[in-house]
Symmetry: C3
């Protein structure tokens, strides 16, 4: 772990995988995100740290909300943002993905934000183009800004996530959200549990550094937070998931089920929610438990921080701010 006393330059010019981060990186990201989160709450949303930079959002998969989050994060800091229509046939017109990437890079953008259905796509774009790149979801592989916003949401509540017990419920196997969250929570020394239908749990879960449960009530025992993953309806037609009703009965979160969890157990969901399936509506609306909208709000702040840090535009004050905070409790998962 690189760490030289009073000076720490953020050492990444892309955010492709949680696995590239060490705990100090995460702390710097969180410090800068905290600044943006608080500023937005105060209604002070005018920044210029990204002024003069061009960001291209290259979404091969539709995701209105993630796109909006990245777009707002960048525009508030003064960047010029160009969106490429998701799934648009016009993105490639039969040209190779590499040629698309190189063509865009030739327009001299400063950041690419890439969402693609293939694992490794964002990393490939970063390598081919040399342009700082944020992975906004690559297949079932990673979604690092989602994991960061989730851990940031919890950190705002708890001070830190280290030592806390967190359960992720649902289709772990196909979830980049789960994969990135497991990596980050492990890095931050949380205890991670996974639970879901046996067919949707990874076969090598023990190698993930987590505990796997097949019974939801048991899994919830003593949890400080539980995250319901979104059910992909297409998995149902594939036979991997039973009907909505069956799924809700077996794996859906609701107030009653949280009885064995910690009394202050927080409830998370990456959105968009299928109410009545993976999460009960009343629970999703419970202001004492649900932090689902906090997650969305944190998303803009985290993305603002990431964009500033990978482009070298975070002001020096960001590091100074960080030193003023307690740096103890940092794990050494690197």
């Amino acid at each position: 772990m690189e760490r030289t006393g009073f000076a720490y330059d953020f050492p990444h010019d892309s955010l492709l995988s949680v696995g590239d981060l060490n705990p100090l990186d995460v702390q710097i990201i969180f410090e800068r995100a905290r600044h943006h989160f608080d500023a937005a709450r105060r209604g002070d949303k005018q920044g210029d740290t990204l002024k003069g930079l061009t960001q291209i959002n290259l979404f091969f998969e539709n995701s209105t909300r993630t796109l909006a989050s990245f777009e707002i994060a960048a525009k508030r800091l003064g960047a010029d943002v160009v969106n490429f229509a998701a799934g648009s046939a016009s993105i490639s017109k039969g040209e190779s993905l590499d040629d698309t990437a190189l063509t865009l890079a030739a327009m001299r953008p400063d950041v690419l934000v890439v969402r693609h259905k293939s694992a490794g796509a964002a990393a490939h774009f970063a390598r081919v183009t040399g342009v700082p790149t944020v992975n906004a979801g690559d297949g079932a592989h990673e979604h690092p800004t989602q994991a960061l916003l989730d851990a940031f949401t919890l950190t705002r509540r708890w001070g830190e996530v280290g030592g806390r017990r967190i359960l992720i419920v649902g289709d772990i196997l196909h979830s980049r959200v789960a994969r990135s969250n497991v990596s980050l929570l492990n890095l931050l020394n949380a205890e991670v549990r996974l639970c879901g239908p046996a067919t949707l749990l990874p076969a090598d879960a023990d190698r993930w550094g987590v505990t796997v449960f097949h019974d939801l009530e048991e899994a919830l025992e003593g949890c400080d937070a539980v995250m319901a993953l979104r059910i992909q309806k297409e998995r149902m037609t594939g036979g991997l998931i039973p009907s909505d009703r069956e799924y809700a009965a077996l794996w859906g979160l609701n107030e009653a089920r949280l009885e064995r969890a910690s009394p202050e157990c927080l409830v998370m969901h990456p959105g968009p929610m299928n109410r009545g399936v993976e999460i009960d509506g009343a629970l999703a609306d419970d202001p004492d438990r649900a932090v689902i909208l906090d997650q969305v709000e944190s998303g803009v702040a985290i993305r603002s921080a990431i964009l500033e840090l990978i482009t070298g535009r975070a002001p020096n004050g960001a590091i100074a701010d960080m030193r003023a905070h307690d740096m103890d409790g940092l794990g050494d998962g690197a």
Copy 2:
């Protein structure tokens, strides 16, 4: 009517319905719109009253021109604008409308501009989110910025609309444009007439404070302005409207038909026009009569004014400017 001599704060943080406005509100809106209208004509389009604000345009119905008008209005004043694709399946992905609204609100926008096919949608979004909201059309209910831009267009020509006779022709029953115009013109003490096929007139038109005519020539008698509504082709297949040709023969506006109207009778259309159906091409192009492009131009100015006023960003000078004008002739329709 709240009115305290020399100080008047615009009392609305959303624009959902013309029914929420009183004549002084309208005068303030018009004063500010006049400022923007004149500035744009002078080529002086650079403003920063909305700098640091984020506007989300949430269009569940396609409307390229209305979207462009709101987008231009906001960007010219320095706002960051994020568009959500109209009709895009990705807006909801099966989540509830309230969850979509709350998710967007969690990104801390300062204004929502909402178009939706259901009456009351924008008001519902405003209530659920607490974010200042402009209704850009909600089903057959209201389209308040359209009514404001129409009345502003007439006010620029006449000084005021009070006492003038204005006819609206067409499918009144399904028209939010008609509904909002009737409310606003009544508020401003104009005389409003409606005319159209009997099946497309409201059954309770007498309660609207208008006079209903079944004969177009008679309805046009002495009119100072006449507004042709756009024919929705889908109404024809539904049998409510005859063919294009029959419609034009019975209800289409043309020069000959305006004989009984005032010699200076102005001709309006909310666009996009079906030339040769609800309006004759030569009449639409008559520079002495048609103010159709003035309406479009006024639209940007009115929307700029509304965005500034509901976000509390209109400079104090706007009120001072207003006091410098003649405030007589204000009706008291509140």
Copy 3:
């Protein structure tokens, strides 16, 4: 040719056709483009020469890359940019093209960028609206910014294109890229050659001021640059072009084929490329020959220059810069 010693105002408020330009216009465009090209390479992309201006990109044909290029060019200089969805049914809703144009013009944009499948569409929009307009491709007619970026790319390499031999290969008949390039290269006193399937060469090529070849090897003799046109797959189904494989065998560019060209012969392609059809992948990637990504990079710079010049926003320094350069070698093709 208008030319008055030390002062030269750019005399065009639209860019519709290469035929409207004289060599001095081109030199001014290139000088200003050079400024933007170098600034972007230095990472200095923040400008404000277009601040306060509104640009509407009106693309009736899909073209993600050209749209992005114009969007980036404008935003980097501070313009407000509004995009109209390509091919969107909502652009017209049955209204006439002229009404769409006039409606947009009434919103007081400062520039229109128009792509349309019909020859003359951009010129028509410019005439109807009176708004400065850039032709971003009109059917098989013209694509002037493409020709400018191509010649700019070559000028950066060679100093000037006058006296050089340049070959264009492919479907000349349907190519606006070819048509605009021929005009501009002739204007700049280059020697232009055309080659391709007999059915895809213009019947009146001799009147174009070019030499036509039916044999690719012969055409390449002594060439300083060769440009492969993109094959439109729909031409194949129409029977005008054989299969991919046959096309590549007869007309595809590759290293071996360049043997008779100049040893430093440059290779160009307007993109997107069909690798293995009109151009061999290894050749497209050859850093000593291919300038394909330079073309893309030049595109943003050229469009920035054009937008500034037609709106009268290019700083006076641009002309002064130009005078500092060698003005000899200007052809007099006007």
